[in-house]
Structures are given as C-alpha cells and as structure tokens.
C-alpha cells in the first residue's frame, strides 16, 4: 500500500472514533471543542471492556447535541437538498444521523488513549458566523504521526454547532455527496431515504 493509502485508512480510523467529538455550549468555538473533547475523553478512558455499552451511550449523549445534523445532511446532499420537501429533509437528516452515530460509536473506544491537541485560534469565516477549529489527534503506537481533524461550526441561537468534520482534508460529510446523488439520480429523494433506512436496519446495533 502507498503512504497515501495508509493516510487514507488512518483517516477513516480517526473519523470513525472521533467525529463524535462534542462541544459544551460556550460562546467561544475553540473552548467549546476543547471542553467537549475533554469530557468525551474522560468518559472514554473509563471504558474497561465490560461497560462498553454505557460508555458509548454517555459519549453519544455528550456528542450528539453538539452537531446540527440537518445542516450537515444538507451539506452532504448538496444541491439536491432543494429537491427535497421539508418532510423528506427531516427524514434524510434523521437517517444520516443514525448512520453516522452507528458508524462512529462502534469504533470510538479504540481512541480512548488518544491525545488531542486543539489549536488555540479558530479560522473565522462568513462574517464571523462560521468557525473552523483545528485539532491534531495522536494515537500511542501510531508511528505515522498525528492526524489533523478540523471541525467547522456555525453560530446558532443555541450556540455553536458542528456541521462538518474533516480528517486530513477529507470531509466525513461531503464524502457522501456523490454516493447520495448517485441514488437521488436513480430513485429520487425517497429512494435515498429508503436506502439509508435499509442500511441502518441492516447494521447490527452496537453491542
């Protein structure tokens, strides 16, 4: 395998575990990412092989409120989002949320010994309403060095919410766009909803 291939796989590893990062509500996106990371790592460290299920549930409870899945799904779908009725949009967002939560919650415990460094300065965009917080994640025993994980947040009346996560430049959200559009072009928005439902039903619930 090439180095790039390794990087790619390392990317998937990290995204599997850590996009479930969450953020406690504060006015500062960096502090929010840092605080939520800390809380999640505290919970993850208590995993001892017997309490895996509870640890996952606790992490999910910390992480999920930090995300705006509606906005995230819109970003994943791209222009096709406007073809969807409001009801279809919420169905899509619900299914996409289930898919992401299942994907990442099944591997998060592999990252319990990860070292997370959050960069103190966020990159602001969109007249200060959007912020990208950069972090680097190192795993002990991974000699390939730390992996860059970026969170893009935007300001809502309820505080900052994450709607995009990138690992080494690959977005865990927009990586779905072509896959989603393949399905929308074939079977329409309802086809995509159905496909996601089937997929989520097929994945065994995490133990």
């Amino acid at each position: 395998m090439t180095d790039t291939m390794k990087k790619l796989i390392a990317t998937f590893l990290v995204m599997l575990g850590l996009s479930a990062h969450s953020l406690a509500a504060t006015d500062n996106p960096v502090e929010q990412v840092r605080e939520t990371s800390r809380q999640i790592m505290d919970v993850l460290k208590q995993e001892n092989g017997k309490n895996t299920k509870q640890v996952r549930q606790q992490v999910e409870a910390l992480a999920v409120p930090q995300f705006d899945f509606q906005r995230m799904t819109a970003l994943a779908v791209g222009l096709g989002w406007r073809q969807a009725s409001p009801a279809q949009q919420s169905a899509l967002a619900q299914q996409f949320q289930n898919l992401l939560v299942r994907t990442y919650s099944s591997t998060m415990t592999r990252f319990k010994n990860a070292q997370i460094d959050i960069q103190p300065n966020a990159t602001m965009g969109n007249s200060g309403r959007e912020a990208t917080v950069k972090s680097s994640v190192s795993l002990p025993g991974n000699d390939k060095g730390p992996v860059a994980v970026d969170y893009t947040l935007y300001k809502t009346p309820q505080g900052w919410k994450v709607f995009n996560v990138s690992v080494e430049g690959a977005s865990l959200v927009t990586v779905y766009r072509n896959q989603f559009n393949q399905e929308i072009n074939k079977n329409g928005v309802d086809g995509l909803i159905k496909m996601l439902q089937d997929k989520n039903a097929a994945i065994p619930a995490s133990k």
Binding site: T2, K6, L13, L16, G145, S171
Partner: protein, 281 residues
C-alpha cells in the same frame, strides 16, 4: 530482476492501453473517467483481499508480537526514505533530502538495518515524499483517479510514479536477488501493512453507501489536501446558508422534480440571504 522490470513495464503498457480503451467520454464524476476499469480493479482487489491478503494478515498478526510488526514497518520505511531523499532532491528541497539521507544513515546503522526508527526520536522528521509528489510539484497537479492492483486508490500520476519507482534498480535489490525473493519481499510488505488496518474493515462497510465511491472521494480529497489543491470532488460550490435557508422547491414527489437552477454563483443572492439571516437573529 530484469524479468520483474520487464513485467512491470509491460504491465504499465497494458494498463495504459486498457485505460485508453475504456475512458468514458462523459464520466459521471469528472475525476473518474476510467470508472469502469477502476471498479473492476476495485472488485479484483476486494476479492484478493478477502481470499488471500486479509486471511494472511490475520494469521500473521496472530503469530507475531506488536513490536515485531513495528520493526518490519520500520524496515520497509527505511527503503522509502531512500526514495524520499531522491524525490526531495528532484523537488529542489535539499534540506529535506539531507534530512532523509541522515535518517537512512542513522536507521541503517544504529537502527539495525532499519528495524528500529531511531531517527524520528532523534529529531529527524519523517517527511516522506514520492515520485507522484515530484510530478505534482513540477506542475502535474490534477490527475484522474486510478485504482491500482493490490495498492488500491491512486491517480494516474501517482500510479506512474509508483510504477517507475518499483521498476528502477533501487536499494531493495540488496535484499532480494530473484523474482521469488522479490515476491516474498513485497508480500511481506503487503501483509505487514494490511495487518495494521484489520480492525477497521467493518467501519468502512458500515459508513459507506457505496464503498467504491466512498474510498475514491475520501482519497481524492485527502490527496488534494496533501498537495495543497482545492477539493476536487465537489465542483458545484455549495453555499450552505442558501441551501439550508432557501424554501424547498419540492412539492411533488422529489423523484420527478427537475433539478433547480444552480445559482450558487450569485453573490447578491447570498448576501441577501446573509442579511436576512442576521436580521432574524
């Protein structure tokens, strides 16, 4: 060795002919005109992995301790540093090239023929670069997606770079002397590398709708970032604010709805959306 090189050369030739033959004039994804070829190569790799490589890697991991596998990785990495030094020179990066040469010198001697990476803790950065990077450095920025046999996701540029690097008489010829030994060398490399990623197989299956597309788009985004290029997989620059705030155009079942006109390029529209959004807050 010559026969290995001949095989490589003819392999490259056959591959380029095949590619030329099946390039789609209207690819559904601009970066993937060879999708039909790539998908069959992906299927081949998947089969080879399922029936040979993955079981071998599982057996290998079962019988070897972790430090042993790290030593094997370091051993192969040491050869890559030689190529990295050459490519850093080709990219006119003499400092990085010297760094790589120092790494090889240190690891090959005090690091017991490369089995121990003492250069990294000693402060010599692992800044590996490849012939594909060299091509990109001198202007070959965009390259179509190409799935290589065994090596997996790549581009035409990076695949060519890899083919040339494998074909030249590099330092690994100190280790193997005939085709069988070469197969053992690369087989060991492949199995050792594969063993590191065994735990993550299910994750890709869980995450992806279409694993081929997922890997392709993830790889292309990653590679573009490494080379400092804009994200190649999204040509339509989606304005997320417009997308979320605009009222849905769909009233009929969306399958029949015509795609709405793309107006992401209207700065006034987006400014208006922003103004409306800020006024609402």
């Amino acid at each position: 060795m010559t026969c290995t090189r001949h095989a490589l050369r003819s392999g490259l030739l056959v591959a380029s002919l095949l590619l030329a033959g099946c390039a789609s004039p209207h690819p559904s994804t601009p970066q993937d005109p060879y999708e039909s070829f790539n998908r069959s190569m992906y299927a081949f790799n998947d089969k080879a992995d399922r029936w040979v490589i993955k079981p071998a890697a599982q057996g290998y991991r079962a019988i070897t301790p972790g430090p042993f596998r790290t030593a094997v990785s370091n051993f192969f990495d040491n050869f890559k540093d030689v190529y990295s030094a050459a490519n850093n020179l080709l990219q006119a990066e003499p400092e990085k090239a010297v760094n790589d040469i120092m790494r090889v010198a240190l690891n090959s001697t005090f690091g017991l023929f490369g089995l121990i990476d003492i250069a990294t803790p000693a402060g010599l950065k692992n800044n590996k670069t490849s012939l594909g990077d060299t091509f990109a450095h001198w202007g070959w920025k965009n390259s179509n997606y190409l799935v290589l046999p065994f090596f997996g996701p790549s581009t035409v540029r990076d695949g060519l770079g890899l083919g040339v690097s494998l074909g030249i008489n590099g330092p690994e010829h100190l280790v193997y002397h005939n085709s069988n030994e070469a197969i053992a060398f690369y087989g060991m490399y492949g199995v050792n590398t594969r063993a590191r990623y065994l735990d993550f197989d299910d994750s890709l299956a869980t995450a992806a709708i279409d694993p081929y597309t997922y890997l392709r788009d993830g790889f292309l985004q990653l590679r573009a970032r490494q080379l400092g290029l804009p994200n190649p997989t999204q040509s339509d620059d989606v304005n997320i604010d417009e997308l979320v705030n605009a009222p849905s155009t769909a009233s009929a079942p969306a399958g029949e709805a015509a795609p709405p006109a793309v107006d992401g390029s209207h700065p006034e529209a987006s400014a208006a959306a922003h103004a409306a959004a800020s006024a609402a807050q």
